[in-house]
Protein backbone atom coordinates (compact mmCIF):
# COMPACT_ATOMS: atom_id res chain seq x y z
CA UNK A 1 0.00 0.00 0.00
CA UNK A 2 1.43 3.22 -1.09
CA UNK A 3 0.21 5.64 1.47
CA UNK A 4 3.00 8.11 2.18
CA UNK A 5 4.33 8.04 5.67
CA UNK A 6 3.35 11.64 6.17
CA UNK A 7 -0.28 10.76 6.00
CA UNK A 8 0.12 8.17 8.67
CA UNK A 9 1.79 10.75 10.79
CA UNK A 10 -1.01 13.20 10.17
CA UNK A 11 -3.52 10.65 11.29
CA UNK A 12 -1.62 9.93 14.42
CA UNK A 13 -1.20 13.63 14.99
CA UNK A 14 -4.91 14.20 14.91
CA UNK A 15 -5.56 11.34 17.22
CA UNK A 16 -2.93 12.56 19.63
CA UNK A 17 -4.28 16.07 19.55
CA UNK A 18 -7.74 14.83 20.26
CA UNK A 19 -6.42 12.74 23.06
CA UNK A 20 -4.65 15.72 24.59
CA UNK A 21 -7.70 17.88 24.37
CA UNK A 22 -9.83 15.27 25.95
CA UNK A 23 -7.32 14.68 28.68
CA UNK A 24 -7.04 18.34 29.52
CA UNK A 25 -10.57 19.51 29.07
CA UNK A 26 -12.90 16.79 30.20
CA UNK A 27 -13.93 16.47 33.77
CA UNK A 28 -15.11 12.90 33.81
CA UNK A 29 -12.23 10.73 34.79
CA UNK A 30 -13.34 7.80 32.70
CA UNK A 31 -13.32 9.93 29.61
CA UNK A 32 -9.89 11.16 30.61
CA UNK A 33 -8.68 7.59 30.75
CA UNK A 34 -10.19 6.92 27.37
CA UNK A 35 -8.36 9.94 25.99
CA UNK A 36 -5.14 8.55 27.37
CA UNK A 37 -5.80 5.31 25.54
CA UNK A 38 -6.35 7.33 22.40
CA UNK A 39 -3.00 9.00 22.82
CA UNK A 40 -1.29 5.69 23.30
CA UNK A 41 -2.82 4.43 20.15
CA UNK A 42 -1.56 7.36 18.21
CA UNK A 43 1.90 6.70 19.58
CA UNK A 44 1.70 3.15 18.34
CA UNK A 45 0.77 4.44 14.94
CA UNK A 46 3.84 6.65 14.86
CA UNK A 47 6.07 3.77 15.80
CA UNK A 48 4.69 1.59 13.10
CA UNK A 49 4.80 4.35 10.55
CA UNK A 50 8.46 4.81 11.26
CA UNK A 51 9.16 1.12 11.13
CA UNK A 52 7.39 0.86 7.84
CA UNK A 53 9.08 3.94 6.44
CA UNK A 54 12.54 2.48 6.70
CA UNK A 55 11.63 -0.95 5.72
CA UNK A 56 13.18 -1.66 2.37
CA UNK A 57 15.74 1.09 2.67
CA UNK A 58 18.39 -1.47 2.51
CA UNK A 59 15.97 -4.04 1.54
CA UNK A 60 15.26 -4.89 5.10
CA UNK A 61 12.61 -4.33 7.71
CA UNK A 62 13.03 -3.29 11.24
CA UNK A 63 11.55 -5.17 14.14
CA UNK A 64 12.07 -2.67 16.94
CA UNK A 65 8.89 -0.95 15.92
CA UNK A 66 6.53 -3.84 16.40
CA UNK A 67 8.30 -4.94 19.54
CA UNK A 68 7.97 -1.54 21.07
CA UNK A 69 4.34 -1.38 20.06
CA UNK A 70 3.83 -4.71 21.75
CA UNK A 71 5.23 -3.35 24.94
CA UNK A 72 3.16 -0.20 24.65
CA UNK A 73 0.02 -2.21 24.33
CA UNK A 74 1.03 -4.25 27.31
CA UNK A 75 1.73 -1.28 29.49
CA UNK A 76 -1.43 0.42 28.32
CA UNK A 77 -3.39 -2.54 29.47
CA UNK A 78 -1.77 -2.52 32.85
CA UNK A 79 -2.26 1.17 33.23
CA UNK A 80 -5.89 0.97 32.23
CA UNK A 81 -6.43 -1.70 34.82
CA UNK A 82 -4.85 0.29 37.56
CA UNK A 83 -6.63 3.45 36.52
CA UNK A 84 -9.96 1.79 36.59
CA UNK A 85 -9.25 0.29 39.98
CA UNK A 86 -8.41 3.76 41.17
CA UNK A 87 -11.66 5.01 39.77
CA UNK A 88 -13.52 2.40 41.75
CA UNK A 89 -11.74 3.33 44.91
CA UNK A 90 -12.28 7.01 44.20
CA UNK A 91 -15.93 6.50 43.57
CA UNK A 92 -16.29 4.66 46.83
CA UNK A 93 -14.71 7.57 48.62
CA UNK A 94 -16.38 10.45 46.98
CA UNK A 95 -19.43 9.11 45.27
CA UNK A 96 -18.39 10.87 42.11
CA UNK A 97 -15.92 10.58 39.31
CA UNK A 98 -15.80 14.24 38.53
CA UNK A 99 -12.33 15.58 38.58
CA UNK A 100 -12.15 18.90 40.28
CA UNK A 101 -15.17 18.61 42.50
CA UNK A 102 -13.11 17.01 45.21
CA UNK A 103 -10.54 19.39 46.46
CA UNK A 104 -7.63 18.32 48.54
CA UNK A 105 -7.78 21.49 50.56
CA UNK A 106 -10.90 22.77 52.07
CA UNK A 107 -11.31 26.36 51.06
CA UNK A 108 -14.68 27.12 52.54
CA UNK A 109 -17.20 25.23 54.56
CA UNK A 110 -20.08 26.01 52.27
CA UNK A 111 -20.43 24.04 49.11
CA UNK A 112 -21.92 24.49 45.70
CA UNK A 113 -23.83 22.04 43.56
CA UNK A 114 -21.99 18.85 42.84
CA UNK A 115 -21.74 19.02 39.15
CA UNK A 116 -20.11 22.40 39.08
CA UNK A 117 -16.55 22.50 40.26
CA UNK A 118 -15.89 24.99 42.98
CA UNK A 119 -14.62 28.29 41.67
CA UNK A 120 -10.91 28.75 41.62
CA UNK A 121 -9.64 32.23 42.34
CA UNK A 122 -7.70 32.39 39.14
CA UNK A 123 -7.46 30.22 36.15
CA UNK A 124 -4.04 29.70 34.62
Amino acid sequence: MNVPTEHLLVLSAFLFGLGILGFLLRRNVIIVLASIELMLNSANLVLLAGSRHWAGVEGTGFLEGPILVLFVILVAAAEAAIGLALIIALFRLKQSVILGSSQSYEVAADSTSPSVPPPSPTRP
Partner: protein, 237 residues
Amino acid sequence: MAEVLFYLLAAGAVVFGVGVVAARMPIFSVLNLLGTFFCVAGVYLLTGFQFLAVTQLLVYAGAIMVLFLFVIMLLNLHDESLGGTLMSLTSLPPRTLALASATAGVFVLTLIFASGVGPPPGSAVLAAARIDEGLDQLVPLAEVLFTRYALPFEAASLLLLATMVGVIMLAKRDRPRAKGDTSASWPWTPAVDDGAEPVQQAETAPALEPGRSRKTHEGTAARPPADKPGERAGSVQ
Protein backbone atom coordinates in the same frame (compact mmCIF):
# COMPACT_ATOMS: atom_id res chain seq x y z
CA MET B 1 -7.96 0.24 -3.59
CA ALA B 2 -6.05 -0.24 -0.41
CA GLU B 3 -5.37 3.44 -0.28
CA VAL B 4 -9.02 4.29 -0.41
CA LEU B 5 -9.66 1.89 2.38
CA PHE B 6 -6.89 3.45 4.36
CA TYR B 7 -8.31 6.89 4.04
CA LEU B 8 -11.73 5.65 4.99
CA LEU B 9 -10.36 3.93 8.04
CA ALA B 10 -8.36 6.98 8.92
CA ALA B 11 -11.35 9.21 8.69
CA GLY B 12 -13.29 6.77 10.75
CA ALA B 13 -10.63 6.73 13.40
CA VAL B 14 -10.71 10.50 13.62
CA VAL B 15 -14.45 10.64 13.76
CA PHE B 16 -14.57 8.05 16.48
CA GLY B 17 -11.81 9.93 18.25
CA VAL B 18 -13.87 13.07 18.27
CA GLY B 19 -16.63 10.99 19.65
CA VAL B 20 -14.41 9.78 22.44
CA VAL B 21 -13.54 13.28 23.48
CA ALA B 22 -16.84 14.98 22.99
CA ALA B 23 -19.25 12.35 24.17
CA ARG B 24 -21.88 13.29 26.64
CA MET B 25 -21.66 10.20 28.72
CA PRO B 26 -18.74 7.96 29.48
CA ILE B 27 -20.45 4.97 27.97
CA PHE B 28 -20.63 6.72 24.65
CA SER B 29 -17.05 7.73 24.94
CA VAL B 30 -15.99 4.19 25.56
CA LEU B 31 -17.97 2.86 22.67
CA ASN B 32 -16.44 5.43 20.40
CA LEU B 33 -13.09 4.35 21.64
CA LEU B 34 -13.94 0.86 20.59
CA GLY B 35 -14.65 2.12 17.14
CA THR B 36 -11.32 3.88 17.08
CA PHE B 37 -9.58 0.70 18.05
CA PHE B 38 -11.18 -1.15 15.17
CA CYS B 39 -10.22 1.49 12.67
CA VAL B 40 -6.69 1.61 13.89
CA ALA B 41 -6.47 -2.14 13.77
CA GLY B 42 -7.55 -1.94 10.19
CA VAL B 43 -4.81 0.58 9.48
CA TYR B 44 -2.26 -1.72 11.05
CA LEU B 45 -3.47 -4.48 8.76
CA LEU B 46 -3.25 -2.34 5.70
CA THR B 47 0.27 -1.23 6.45
CA GLY B 48 1.48 -4.73 6.86
CA PHE B 49 1.46 -5.40 10.54
CA GLN B 50 -0.91 -8.29 10.79
CA PHE B 51 0.19 -9.59 14.10
CA LEU B 52 -0.13 -6.26 15.71
CA ALA B 53 -3.54 -5.74 14.24
CA VAL B 54 -4.75 -8.88 15.83
CA THR B 55 -3.00 -8.10 19.07
CA GLN B 56 -4.63 -4.71 19.10
CA LEU B 57 -8.04 -6.21 18.73
CA LEU B 58 -7.43 -8.89 21.30
CA VAL B 59 -5.94 -6.69 23.96
CA TYR B 60 -7.39 -3.27 23.41
CA ALA B 61 -10.80 -4.04 22.09
CA GLY B 62 -11.10 -7.35 23.81
CA ALA B 63 -9.67 -6.72 27.24
CA ILE B 64 -9.32 -3.05 27.95
CA MET B 65 -12.64 -2.06 26.57
CA VAL B 66 -14.28 -4.82 28.51
CA LEU B 67 -12.64 -3.46 31.64
CA PHE B 68 -13.95 -0.01 30.89
CA LEU B 69 -17.40 -1.29 30.35
CA PHE B 70 -17.29 -3.35 33.49
CA VAL B 71 -16.33 -0.34 35.53
CA ILE B 72 -18.92 1.88 33.98
CA MET B 73 -21.58 -0.60 34.68
CA LEU B 74 -20.21 -1.37 38.09
CA LEU B 75 -20.36 2.24 39.07
CA ASN B 76 -23.84 2.42 37.76
CA LEU B 77 -23.26 5.76 36.17
CA HIS B 78 -26.58 5.93 34.49
CA ASP B 79 -27.50 9.06 36.31
CA GLU B 80 -26.29 11.99 34.38
CA SER B 81 -25.47 14.01 37.41
CA LEU B 82 -23.18 11.29 38.55
CA GLY B 83 -21.21 10.59 35.49
CA GLY B 84 -22.20 12.63 32.54
CA THR B 85 -21.03 16.04 31.68
CA LEU B 86 -21.64 17.70 28.45
CA MET B 87 -18.52 19.05 27.02
CA SER B 88 -19.30 22.49 25.83
CA LEU B 89 -16.50 24.59 24.65
CA THR B 90 -18.12 27.76 25.86
CA SER B 91 -18.28 26.55 29.41
CA LEU B 92 -14.54 26.50 29.61
CA PRO B 93 -12.61 29.54 30.69
CA PRO B 94 -10.92 30.94 27.61
CA ARG B 95 -7.44 30.75 29.03
CA THR B 96 -7.74 27.08 29.74
CA LEU B 97 -9.02 26.46 26.28
CA ALA B 98 -6.25 28.47 24.73
CA LEU B 99 -3.56 26.74 26.67
CA ALA B 100 -4.96 23.30 25.98
CA SER B 101 -5.27 24.09 22.31
CA ALA B 102 -1.75 25.38 22.20
CA THR B 103 -0.46 22.27 23.88
CA ALA B 104 -2.32 20.03 21.54
CA GLY B 105 -1.27 22.12 18.59
CA VAL B 106 2.38 21.84 19.42
CA PHE B 107 2.26 18.10 19.48
CA VAL B 108 0.16 17.88 16.39
CA LEU B 109 2.40 20.10 14.41
CA THR B 110 5.45 18.33 15.64
CA LEU B 111 4.09 15.05 14.52
CA ILE B 112 2.98 16.35 11.18
CA PHE B 113 6.21 17.98 10.28
CA ALA B 114 8.48 15.58 12.05
CA SER B 115 11.31 13.92 10.31
CA GLY B 116 13.23 11.04 11.73
CA VAL B 117 16.72 9.75 11.40
CA GLY B 118 15.92 6.12 11.23
CA PRO B 119 16.65 3.30 13.54
CA PRO B 120 20.10 3.13 14.99
CA PRO B 121 22.56 0.70 13.46
CA GLY B 122 22.44 -2.71 14.91
CA SER B 123 18.68 -2.83 15.18
CA ALA B 124 16.90 -6.03 14.76
CA VAL B 125 16.42 -6.66 11.14
CA LEU B 126 13.88 -8.54 9.21
CA ALA B 127 15.44 -10.38 6.36
CA ALA B 128 14.79 -8.73 3.09
CA ALA B 129 13.40 -11.71 1.38
CA ARG B 130 10.39 -11.93 3.61
CA ILE B 131 9.17 -8.38 3.73
CA ASP B 132 6.32 -8.92 1.36
CA GLU B 133 4.78 -11.33 3.74
CA GLY B 134 4.40 -8.72 6.39
CA LEU B 135 6.54 -6.49 8.50
CA ASP B 136 5.90 -8.13 11.84
CA GLN B 137 6.17 -11.77 11.16
CA LEU B 138 5.89 -13.87 14.20
CA VAL B 139 8.92 -16.08 14.04
CA PRO B 140 11.49 -13.35 13.53
CA LEU B 141 9.64 -11.22 16.01
CA ALA B 142 9.67 -13.92 18.60
CA GLU B 143 13.30 -14.61 17.94
CA VAL B 144 14.18 -11.02 18.68
CA LEU B 145 11.76 -10.68 21.49
CA PHE B 146 12.99 -13.63 23.49
CA THR B 147 16.64 -13.07 22.91
CA ARG B 148 17.49 -9.44 22.68
CA TYR B 149 14.53 -8.14 24.56
CA ALA B 150 14.24 -10.92 27.06
CA LEU B 151 14.78 -8.59 29.96
CA PRO B 152 12.02 -6.14 29.09
CA PHE B 153 9.80 -9.07 28.42
CA GLU B 154 10.32 -10.53 31.85
CA ALA B 155 10.01 -7.11 33.38
CA ALA B 156 6.74 -6.69 31.63
CA SER B 157 5.48 -9.87 33.17
CA LEU B 158 6.48 -8.56 36.53
CA LEU B 159 4.66 -5.39 35.74
CA LEU B 160 1.53 -7.31 35.01
CA LEU B 161 1.87 -9.17 38.25
CA ALA B 162 2.21 -5.94 40.13
CA THR B 163 -0.75 -4.57 38.31
CA MET B 164 -2.85 -7.48 39.31
CA VAL B 165 -1.90 -7.18 42.92
CA GLY B 166 -2.44 -3.45 42.87
CA VAL B 167 -5.80 -3.68 41.27
CA ILE B 168 -6.99 -6.17 43.78
CA MET B 169 -5.82 -4.05 46.68
CA LEU B 170 -7.27 -0.89 45.24
CA ALA B 171 -10.63 -2.20 44.41
CA LYS B 172 -11.08 -4.35 47.42
CA ARG B 173 -14.16 -3.60 49.34
CA ASP B 174 -13.80 -2.87 52.98
CA ARG B 175 -15.70 -5.27 55.16
CA PRO B 176 -18.21 -3.72 57.53
CA ARG B 177 -16.63 -3.50 60.91
CA ALA B 178 -17.97 -4.13 64.32
CA LYS B 179 -18.33 -1.36 66.82
CA GLY B 180 -15.13 -0.72 68.69
CA ASP B 181 -12.97 -2.35 66.14
CA THR B 182 -10.05 -0.01 65.80
CA SER B 183 -7.85 -2.13 63.62
CA ALA B 184 -6.52 -0.26 60.65
CA SER B 185 -8.50 -0.34 57.50
CA TRP B 186 -7.23 0.43 54.12
CA PRO B 187 -7.22 2.82 52.24
CA TRP B 188 -8.71 5.16 54.84
CA THR B 189 -9.46 5.37 58.50
CA PRO B 190 -12.92 6.20 59.67
CA ALA B 191 -13.38 8.74 62.42
CA VAL B 192 -15.91 7.19 64.75
CA ASP B 193 -16.92 3.65 64.44
CA ASP B 194 -20.59 3.47 65.06
CA GLY B 195 -22.18 0.59 63.36
CA ALA B 196 -25.82 1.51 63.83
CA GLU B 197 -26.14 4.92 62.31
CA PRO B 198 -24.36 4.74 59.01
CA VAL B 199 -26.69 2.25 57.44
CA GLN B 200 -29.60 4.42 58.37
CA GLN B 201 -27.95 7.59 57.17
CA ALA B 202 -26.85 5.96 54.00
CA GLU B 203 -30.43 5.47 52.91
CA THR B 204 -31.64 8.93 53.67
CA ALA B 205 -28.71 11.08 52.91
CA PRO B 206 -28.41 12.37 49.37
CA ALA B 207 -25.92 10.70 47.17
CA LEU B 208 -23.49 13.49 47.01
CA GLU B 209 -22.57 16.24 49.33
CA PRO B 210 -19.48 17.90 48.14
CA GLY B 211 -19.05 19.64 51.45
CA ARG B 212 -18.57 16.32 53.07
CA SER B 213 -16.47 14.89 50.34
CA ARG B 214 -14.33 17.91 50.54
CA LYS B 215 -13.82 17.39 54.20
CA THR B 216 -12.74 13.85 53.79
CA HIS B 217 -9.10 14.61 53.87
CA GLU B 218 -9.36 16.73 56.97
CA GLY B 219 -8.97 15.36 60.44
CA THR B 220 -11.36 12.56 60.51
CA ALA B 221 -12.28 13.26 64.07
CA ALA B 222 -14.12 16.36 63.00
CA ARG B 223 -16.44 14.58 60.69
CA PRO B 224 -19.88 13.58 61.75
CA PRO B 225 -20.20 9.86 62.04
CA ALA B 226 -22.60 9.77 59.14
CA ASP B 227 -19.82 10.71 56.79
CA LYS B 228 -18.36 7.37 56.12
CA PRO B 229 -18.50 6.44 52.51
CA GLY B 230 -16.85 3.21 53.27
CA GLU B 231 -19.88 2.18 55.18
CA ARG B 232 -22.04 3.21 52.34
CA ALA B 233 -20.29 1.04 49.90
CA GLY B 234 -23.19 -1.23 50.28
CA SER B 235 -25.44 1.28 48.61
CA VAL B 236 -23.18 1.48 45.64
CA GLN B 237 -23.23 -2.20 45.11
